[in-house]
Symmetry: C2
Subunit: 112 residues, 2 copies
DNA sequence: GACGAACGTCAGTGTCTACTGACAGATAGG
DNA sequence: CCTATCTGTCAGTAGACACTGACGTTCGTC
């Protein structure tokens, strides 16, 4: 059981159906049955996916009688977005630094 | 074999060691052996992780004699960042809409 | 060419994951 | 209480995935 929110979010979203589920409930609050109807797998499979998303902090759940209604929790994506932002920034800096070092090397080789 | 860059990136990054590898080479270009030395698994395992990252478009590779040098490719993260941005925006809109609908409902119930 | 260093590829293995149908619990209406 | 609806839980399974050691390829030096 992971305690790193970005790790949990990544693992949850790496599975295409879970990603599709989250995209559905990011647009509109839906009941579990409505979500399941959008897929060609068993209700059980969908229920398990919902559990993973919920435990990753990506879903907000409320009940109306027997119905469980789900919508996406934007805050669940925050750490993951931060992680990607950091990676992006680091990667850009490093790429720039190396490209410039390459240019310096190439220029020196042209002079020689 | 997936052709969706965001899917490939997510699947690559869902594995913690691959994530750690990408973070290392986002900071500095490293040789395969240097990367492997940072982990307590076999060189083969690391080589396989590098292959996954490379095929997901997240690594840039160059050779110096027998050495393979890797750095992170920022552009490999672009689609994933876009996907998360869209999810974030949708989820925020929906959450706001539902919270306001809830407020309206609660206000109506207080009057009654 | 022989040798050593660097590292990818191959083939096999144990664990994990996404799937299934059946069962169980919660809720509301008659 | 009974019945119907909704949906999570249970237990089992096939395939995917991260691991391993051995083998193969590339490169540079002697």
């Amino acid at each position: 059981m992971t305690t790193d929110p970005a790790d949990a979010a990544l693992k949850a979203l790496a599975e295409p159906r879970r990603r599709a589920i989250l995209q559905l409930v990011a647009h509109d609050e839906l009941a579990a049955g409505e979500i399941a109807a959008a897929f060609d797998v068993s209700r059980t499979a969908v229920s398990q996916h919902l559990t993973v998303l919920k435990e990753a902090g990506l879903l907000h759940e409320r009940r109306e009688a027997t119905r469980r209604l789900y919508r996406a929790r934007p805050e669940g994506l925050a750490e993951l977005r931060d992680l990607l932002e950091d990676l992006w920034d680091s990667a850009l800096d490093t790429a720039r630094r190396l490209v410039e070092a390459d240019r310096d090397t190439a220029a020196r080789e042209e002079i020689a």
